[in-house]
């Protein structure tokens, strides 16, 4: 990350380059982003192609799902042709691409709905869960990691280590069921499986698909409280897992920075330890930290299938898994495109944040 010194001409001062060549920087940025965009498009295309090929070589027959177990061979053949499966793969792929470009993901054979419609329903469910989970992971994990690094070897560090390792090592479905039993079944502190209580089902008009947001938009506090009581347990669980990861990474980044010379400089200046850690060292880990958070958020956006099953959460993980097991490739492709796009968008976002947060980036 060491940049060539622009001013390394001995004994002479010159203007710092940032102010000196704005148009050059803009152009570089522009070109760089074009490059990033291109590679993103390529990644997505590749993703689609791989998914498509997987779908075609997989020994799950989508036709059966359509025609059912009792179908005669004639019915089967008719459906096979109607689905275009008799054409060569590359033709099928081109046809599919053309439809996707028109915004048409086709119809899911495992739900009978348009894939786009399904995704508008299941993705917000996952997004809501993943966002809240990541928020918990960041709000708890980052301070925990920073403090653990600052007090390396101290009891907070040990506790943080154990908390994180337990988080890494717990089977999520076990923890989920136990949490449900305790907090819902026995204590009654939280809502049960599902996104909403039955009474509130369909009561809040859908705007974003995020029930927490929608109920606020509608000004329905009761619905908000209900939705919150349902999401808090699964989100807490996912939050715990991302906390484990984020706190470990934060600690490792902080340790690296705390041994840097500029930290000594800051101490020499007489700054308080808090200021040294948060004002100096922490600002330097923001870039890798953002990347880590983005990665962890991205993995939650894939949808945690097991959490979704345990909590009857109608999210994208369950949707794609179910579709895959039924050979419902339109749904799998659509879901993969959404997840892949998120991943790619998060990549792009962390790239942009990197440029904003690190003055050394060009």
């Amino acid at each position: 990350m060491v940049q060539p010194d622009m001013l390394d001409q001995p004994g002479r001062d010159g203007p710092p380059p940032a102010a000196g060549a704005p148009s050059g920087r803009a152009m570089r940025l522009g070109r760089r982003f074009a490059g990033v965009a291109l590679s993103l498009v390529l990644t997505l295309l590749g993703l689609l192609l791989v998914t498509f090929v997987i779908g075609r070589i997989m020994p799950i027959d989508p036709v059966l799902k359509v025609v059912g177990e009792r179908a005669t061979q004639a019915q089967y053949d008719a459906a096979y042709q109607a689905m275009g499966l008799d054409k060569p793969i590359w033709q099928q792929f081109l046809r599919y691409m053309a439809e996707v470009l028109r915004g048409d993901f086709g119809r899911s054979i495992s739900t009978g709905h348009a894939v786009a419609q399904d995704l508008r329903r299941v993705f917000p469910a996952t997004l809501e869960l993943a966002t809240l989970g990541t928020m918990i992971g960041v709000l708890v994990g980052v301070p925990l990691g920073v403090v653990a690094a600052a007090r390396r070897g101290g009891w907070i560090d040990q506790v943080a280590r154990v908390v994180a390792l337990v988080g890494y090592s717990m089977p999520i479905f076990w923890l989920g069921l136990m949490g449900l039993l305790l907090f819902y079944g026995i204590l009654g502190w939280v809502g049960g499986p599902g996104r909403q209580g039955i009474v509130y089902d369909g009561m809040v008009p859908t705007v974003t698909g995020l029930i927490l947001v929608d109920s606020l938009v509608a000004g329905d506090w009761a619905a908000f409280r209900d939705a919150f009581s349902h999401i808090v347990l699964p989100a807490g669980l996912l939050g715990y897992f991302s906390l484990a990861y984020i706190s470990r990474m934060t600690r490792s980044f902080m340790l690296e920075q705390l041994s840097a010379e500029y930290v000594v400089t800051a101490r020499v200046k007489g700054l308080s330890e808090r200021r040294v850690i948060w004002g100096h060292a922490f600002r330097n880990i923001l870039v890798p930290l953002v990347t880590v958070i983005a990665l962890s958020f991205g993995s939650l956006l894939e949808g945690s299938v097991l959490t979704e099953i345990v909590f009857s959460w109608p999210g994208i993980g369950q949707y794609i898994t179910k579709a895959l097991l039924a050979g419902d490739m339109n749904a799998v492709l659509g879901g993969t495109v959404v997840v892949g796009t998120c991943f790619v968008a998060l990549n792009l976002l962390s790239d942009i944040l990197y440029r904003l947060l690190d003055p050394r980036a060009t």
């Binding site: 001013l7 400089t265 101490r267 020499v268 007489g270 690190d358 050394r360």
Partner: protein, 284 residues
């Protein structure tokens, strides 16, 4: 007159798996308004001596001394809160490489202002004026611009001058310069040294100049301490360096190439285990 800094029998030790590692083992010296050179190989304890004075030895390292006083006031193992008030305000330090010792994600200006405001409590605008004044004082021609620049946008020489400006802004009494020029290009070294020298003289400060470069120290300092294995093996005025008596100092001198006295082969520095324990010569 009380010396600015008085250190007696300073010891710094770190517990390691193979026992206690003593980085500094009974260093004593006094510093007035002068330029004191501390010379030694790497690992001789000179850097640790500087950090111990600033109270920057992190646990599990331990600092111990018979006496460590700043203008007569003991500063040995002060509580962190009180030590922070001294640091930067009365004792300061310039380190080796500005590339690492300046925070890469903060503008130069903010870094200077931060320390200055902390100790003086002046307004933002006043601190800014002071920072610009200091930047000018270290002969930066366009202080306004550099004020807003990030460390990676300035050269090494300029970086070190910024470091000096930053450290001198709150007017400390003592400056510890830990190898301040060894990471710099030879061509800018002298300039940085000149600036440092001038500022220290003008302000009547005490300077502890830590270096491995005997010649440089000889030219630049008033007095020299030679350290080996955590001890001061010899102390003498810089102009008498050529007359050093301790074999280690002589060895150091002989292993330097000299234009006026070329030799076929440079002498290899010989070390003797006995030096580790011998009391420092010249120490009364």
């Amino acid at each position: 007159m009380t010396p600015l800094l008085s250190v007696r029998n300073l010891r710094v030790a770190f517990p390691t798996r193979s026992g206690l590692f003593e980085a500094v083992r009974g260093v004593s010296f006094e510093l007035g308004r002068e330029r004191l050179g501390v010379v030694g190989e790497s690992g001789s304890g000179k850097t640790m001596t500087g950090r111990a004075i600033l109270g920057l030895v992190r646990p599990p390292g331990r600092v111990d001394a018979d006496r460590m006083a700043l203008s007569g006031e003991s500063i040995l193992n002060l509580p962190e809160r009180r030590m922070r008030r001294l640091r930067g305000a009365r004792i300061s330090m310039v380190m080796q490489d500005p590339k690492f010792s300046l925070n890469p994600v903060m503008t130069v200006g903010r870094q200077i202002v931060e320390g200055y405001r902390l100790h003086t409590g002046v307004s933002r605008a006043q601190a800014r004026d002071k920072a610009l004044e200091m930047l000018a004082a270290v002969q930066i021609r366009d202080p306004e611009r550099v004020f807003h620049a990030y460390p990676h946008e300035v050269s090494g020489g300029m970086g070190q001058r910024i470091m000096i400006a930053m450290m001198l802004a709150p007017d400390p009494e003592i400056l510890i310069a830990d190898e301040p020029t060894s990471a710099l290009d030879v061509s800018v070294r002298n300039e940085v040294l000149r600036i440092l020298d001038r500022l220290v003289r003008e302000r009547g400060m005490g300077l502890i100049f830590i270096s491995h470069d005997l010649n440089l120290v000889a030219q630049f300092c008033d007095r020299v301490l030679i350290m080996y294995a955590g001890r001061v093996v010899e102390e003498l005025p810089a102009r008498d360096l050529h007359a050093a008596r301790h074999p280690y100092t002589q060895g150091l001198l002989n292993s330097l190439p000299r234009l006026d006295r070329p030799v076929e082969r440079l002498a290899v520095l010989q070390r003797q285990a006995g030096w580790r324990d011998a009391p420092p010569e010249g120490a009364a």
